[in-house]
């Protein structure tokens, strides 16, 4: 074992003393830096159209323009509305406060009352509406949001035009807030509850239309269902941000740490180019420089020498991935700060939510992408060993890496050939197969792993056979 380690050490010394390795390594660093620079440029561009202002504190004259508008254009129920706005103004209640919504509700009820005689409401209803309006007012004055939500729930329950499901859906957010003792406001939990309520409404209407026979976008529906799950998980576990929502806290339209860092996993092809160059030249260059004779004259079986080279290639690939991961993380921290580092990634599978630390989530993406590197490097390694030509091995490796997906796209989309699913290129992109976005229907991860394993075995056998039986 110690001797084999020394063989691998020899291979590392050879690789690290080559200028070409360092040049490509430099390109890798530039690629990581370039990603951040481009992202920052995007940020600057978008910042110019950015405009935010807050309505969460009361300022004098806040309601003046709206009252003037109501007085001017006199829409239906304007008198009640003006009364409500003046009430808000007198009590110095800002827009974002829950009491603003309550005052609106009160105005609506009063409008209903005002037209009671015209729409022929009976005395009992009038009496009930009058009580509701008073209850609203009392809740506002008492600053009792629980009472306000209880009224909302009662109103929904008493609405005879709603079905049981509709009632449940509409009263959900009030029930939820009451149940979890969540005071309304403009904090993130409130926003999340509002968003979730909207999603629930969307899901309900989609389901309803589906029942009536209209085809629905199932993907969108499932996404919404998952999103509801994830939102509730965040509220209950007090997770202010996850990777999917982190972008919302940045100024409109700009990118954050996790946006850029997770994009970096798509740039791993830079590393695969480096690894293909190393894999494609590590055997062939020994032949072209004549050093193979001095390599094989040693008391080491050829199989071991070849295996040590392969171990070098594979371990170097993972070291480079780690290097690229750390490099990107550092650059992203430099450009975007360290504020978002602790936030997790939430995934929903089969109705349960899993929380993964952000770095582990991105590391997973890198590892999935490494399968592609491994396959292409092994292909280049096999050609290098079989044909003994660095140029050919690197060329074929790079071509396979860049052209493989295009080939699959042509075979599947243009020619509609389903057997293309058995080709290696249709199986290396494990992350897209996992989330079901593969070109081929029902392409499973197990199937892909088997195809990959078979190909790797064939490549390695070719390399071994070519090297061990070669007459030098």
């Amino acid at each position: 074992m110690g001797k084999f380690f020394k063989l691998v050490q020899n291979e590392y010394i050879k690789i690290l003393n080559r200028i070409s390795t360092w040049i490509i390594l430099g390109l890798v660093v530039l690629a990581a830096l370039g990603l951040c620079l481009v992202s920052v440029l995007v940020k600057n561009e978008m910042n110019r159209n950015n405009d935010t202002y807050s309505q969460s504190t009361y300022t004098d004259g806040m309601y003046d323009s709206e009252i003037a508008y109501q007085k001017d254009s006199k829409p239906e129920g304007y008198e009640q509305m003006i009364e409500a706005l003046e009430f808000l103004r007198d009590n110095k209640i800002p827009y974002a406060d829950w009491r603003y919504a309550a005052a609106n509700d009160m105005a609506q009820v009063k409008t209903q009352l005002a037209s009671a005689s015209a729409s022929g409401l009976d005395d009992a209803t009038v009496k009930a509406l009058t009580k509701t309006a008073q209850d609203y007012k009392n809740a506002i004055l008492a600053k009792d949001w629980k009472a306000y939500y209880q009224i909302k729930i009662d109103v929904i329950q008493e609405d005879a035009s709603l079905s049981k499901e509709e009632k449940e859906m509409q009263e959900w957010q009030y029930q939820y807030r009451l149940g979890h003792d969540l005071k309304p406001g403009s904090d993130w939990k409130s926003n999340l509850i509002t968003e979730t309520a909207t999603l629930k409404a969307q899901v309900a209407s989609m389901r309803k239309e589906q029942e009536s026979g209209t085809a629905q976008d199932m993907e969108k529906l499932n996404q919404n269902v998952d999103k509801i799950q994830a939102n509730l998980y965040r509220i209950e576990h007090n997770i202010r941000l996850d990777i999917a929502s982190a972008g919302l806290t940045h100024p409109q339209g700009t990118l954050g740490f996790w946006d850029v860092f997770s994009t970096s996993s798509k740039m791993i092809s830079v590393i695969s180019l480096l690894i293909i160059v190393i894999a494609g030249s590590c055997v062939a260059s020994e032949f072209s420089s004549g050093t193979i004779k001095f390599l094989l004259i040693n008391p080491v079986k050829r199989g071991k020498i070849l295996f040590s080279k392969y171990v070098m290639v594979v371990s170097f690939a993972y070291l480079m991935l780690l290097f690229f991961f750390i490099l990107n993380a550092l650059f992203c921290m430099m450009f975007y700060g360290t504020g978002d580092l602790g936030i997790p990634y939430l995934s929903v599978a089969g109705g349960t939510v899993h929380s993964t630390p952000g770095f582990a989530y991105i590391a997973g993406k890198y590892l999935l992408a490494s399968v592609d590197i491994l396959v292409m490097a092994t292909l280049a390694f096999a050609i290098s060993s079989l044909i003994r030509s660095s140029a050919l091995a690197i060329g074929v490796g790079a071509f396979a890496m860049l052209g493989g997906n295009t080939l699959i796209l042509i075979l599947k989309q243009a020619l509609n050939l389903d057997w293309a699913r058995y080709l290696i290129f249709a199986n290396t992109n494990l992350s897209s197969i996992m989330d079901g976005s593969s070109l081929f229907a029902h392409q499973s991860v197990q199937f892909a792993l088997i195809v990959v394993a078979v190909h790797m075995f064939v490549f390695l056998l070719t390399a071994w056979d070519g090297f061990v039986r070669r007459e030098v």
Partner: protein, 314 residues
Amino acid sequence: MTTALKLEHISKTIGKKQILHDISFETYAGEVFGFLGPNGAGKTTTIKIIVGLLCLDEGAITVCGTALKNHFEKAMQNIGGIVENPEMYKYLTGMQNLRQYARMRGNVSQKRIDEVVEMVGLSNRIHEKVGHYSLGMRQRLGVAQSILHHPKVLILDEPTNGLDPAGIKELRDILKNLAHKEGVGVLVSSHLMSEMEMMCDRVGIIAEGKLIGVQTVEELISTSSGGKTGFVFTVSDVPRALELIAGLNQEATRLDGRRFQVALPSGETDEPVSAICAKLIGAGIGLYGAAPMENKKLEDVFIALTETGGKQIG
């Protein structure tokens, strides 16, 4: 004498051409064995088979009693060598190159590396990149890597290539020292015959894939000249002298207008030479000189032995 390297009935076919025909020989510990042959005779092929670069079709190779085929790693532990040109990693320094080989062989200390570098005279340049080395320096580095691990069999394919005269002498001394003092069995191939004559204890001559013979250098030279020594006479009148000598029952060959040669049995030249001189002087022919021809060189023997099928490389 202990057998260091033993080849038994080696045959090798590459493509459709049979390169080696039934080669068998042994080298002993403590001798320098010269492996001679013209270009394309199969020297390098034989050496490549011994060090495992080519696979063996037929026959068996034993290194210090270990069969190469069945115990490759153990057998190779006893072999050091250079095959064809000394090509090392150009982007590494001489020292880094030697460390590469040291790691592959085990049990080679830094002290041993320094000792070997000193031995081949590269101490001052060992930390330079091999890409900047001359052929002679690379040859020295090649020798250094071949003896790093104290091999019992040292195989050098044309090691004097590119060496300056001083370097050749140093190499000769190194090899003789290794063989005669440390008991290493050295196998050297070369086409520099004068070198081989000075360096080797025994030689094997190969031509067209067949081993012609294995002998000591002295044996080889004397057998090939048929046990006779040539005497060259310089006279005033060659045709008359030849007539006279024919009468003495001696074979004489004319060399040029002033000289002829007589082949006499080695070691018994005194009487006939005296008789020939007396006869020539008696007949009034001017005798200007009578001297034995220089011994035949290994080179002549080599050319005579291998020059059979015309001059095309087969």
